[in-house]
Amino acid sequence: MCPHPDRQSVDYANEYLSNALSIGEQMLRSGAEVSRVEDSIRRICTAYGAERVDVFTITSSIVVTISGKTFGTVTQTRRISGLQFDLRRLERLNELSRLIAQHLPPMEKVEEALERIRTTPGHSFPAQLGIWALISASFTLFFGGSWLDAVASALIGVLLKYADRGLKWLELNGFLAALLCSGFGGLLSFLAVQWGFGDSVEKINIGNIMLLIPGIMLTNSLRDLFNGDTISGLLRFLEAVLLSMTIAAGFVAASVIGG
């Protein structure tokens, strides 16, 4: 009857806890709030038979202790690094965690599904270039730029994506990378207007700033704060505000130094 004769063992507990943590880790990296991550881990572990589940999550770490009469107490922690927002992945992880809690599939199936979600590629590079151009042009027009400004902004958006890729490859500190990227953008818009390709440096820059500002981080930090996850909320909020100021400063600095 029972497909897992060792369901009561410590090894089994360690295995499902590790899977639950992997799901939580991927969720946090894809842009989930802390409470969602904690809920999912709790739900999965309870479904597999843990009697007590204590989860503590902050932006950079997850700690889980589960306990039950048959296996005693098991603790695992996971260090989280590198955000990579992907809301489709988040939805799929959400569905997976629900499916696990309902149907308790065998471990291999869960690992397979996780691997499939993890390795699903995002948009291709050319598609990303198009998206960056669309966002830049839209917000330049939104803030009152001319059509020529919008075209300049879109082209600069494309170049910024290349710059972003280069900076990622260099593995620079996040703030320095943001400063360099936005400084480059500011310089380009300044040159564009100097050469008559664009009317207002300011409008072009604002379109590009909207592109780079960490909006998802800001909204998530607020939701974390509201849910009572104060540490995570404050950390992310501070990071988002500092990053936004750095980006805006980078764009302004280039045009001020230029003229």
């Binding site: 842009g31 989930a32 709030e33 969602r36 927002f85 992907d86 809301l87 489709r88 992945r89 988040l90 939805e91 959400n94 995002g122 948009h123 598609a127 990303q128 998206i131 960056w132 669309l134 966002i135 042009a137 839209s138 917000f139 027009l141 939104f142 803030f143 009152g144 300011e202 820059n205 604002i206 700033i209 909207m210 500002i213 909006g215 998802i216 800001l218 909204t219 998530n220 607020l222 939701r223 704060l225 509201f226 936004s244 100021m245 805006a248 400063a249 764009f251 302004v252 600095a253 001020v256």
Partner: protein, 148 residues
């Protein structure tokens, strides 16, 4: 004409972010509509409220309500709709002006403008949090009524 351009670009900008965050294809349109709605509400209440801060607050209330409803209907995390819809409200223009004052060492103007940026961001946050609290209370009340 300006209004039309703003609404269309709010939609397009939100759509861009929805694509950037790799939202599922069938959620793209509602997510982008959220951005249009947020800015539409902002523009609509213009004649009633002159100051930007309460206007941002009300727009934020509306977009959070919309995002939560869409999340229930499409059975996906509210983040999916909240993030892309709130983008047009982010005070990028005000932030840019603030930093312009900072770089040209006009500290008084910098303080005023910086305060304005912070207040706008606070209004968005406040709107989201208020609507979430209201919905939370409604949900609890609904559960209570269903139990009885």
């Amino acid at each position: 004409m300006t209004i039309l351009i703003q609404l269309v670009t709010a939609f397009a900008g939100s759509l861009g972010f929805a694509l950037l965050f790799n939202i599922r294809r069938d959620r793209l349109f509602p997510a982008a509509m959220g951005g249009l709605l947020a800015w539409g509400v902002y523009l609509l209440i213009g004649p009633l409220v002159a100051w930007d801060v309460p206007r941002f607050f009300i727009a934020s209330l509306a977009l959070t309500l919309y995002a939560e409803i869409m999340a229930r209907m499409k059975k996906s995390p509210a983040t999916v709709f909240l993030v892309s819809a709130s983008i047009p409200l982010i005070p990028g223009g005000s932030l840019y002006t603030t930093m312009q004052y900072a770089v040209s060492a006009q500290w008084e103007a910098f303080t005023t403008q910086g305060m304005n940026t912070l207040l706008l961001a606070g209004a968005i946050a406040g709107g989201m949090l208020c609507m979430m609290a209201i919905l939370h209370v409604c949900h609890r009340l609904y559960l209570l009524v269903r139990q009885a």
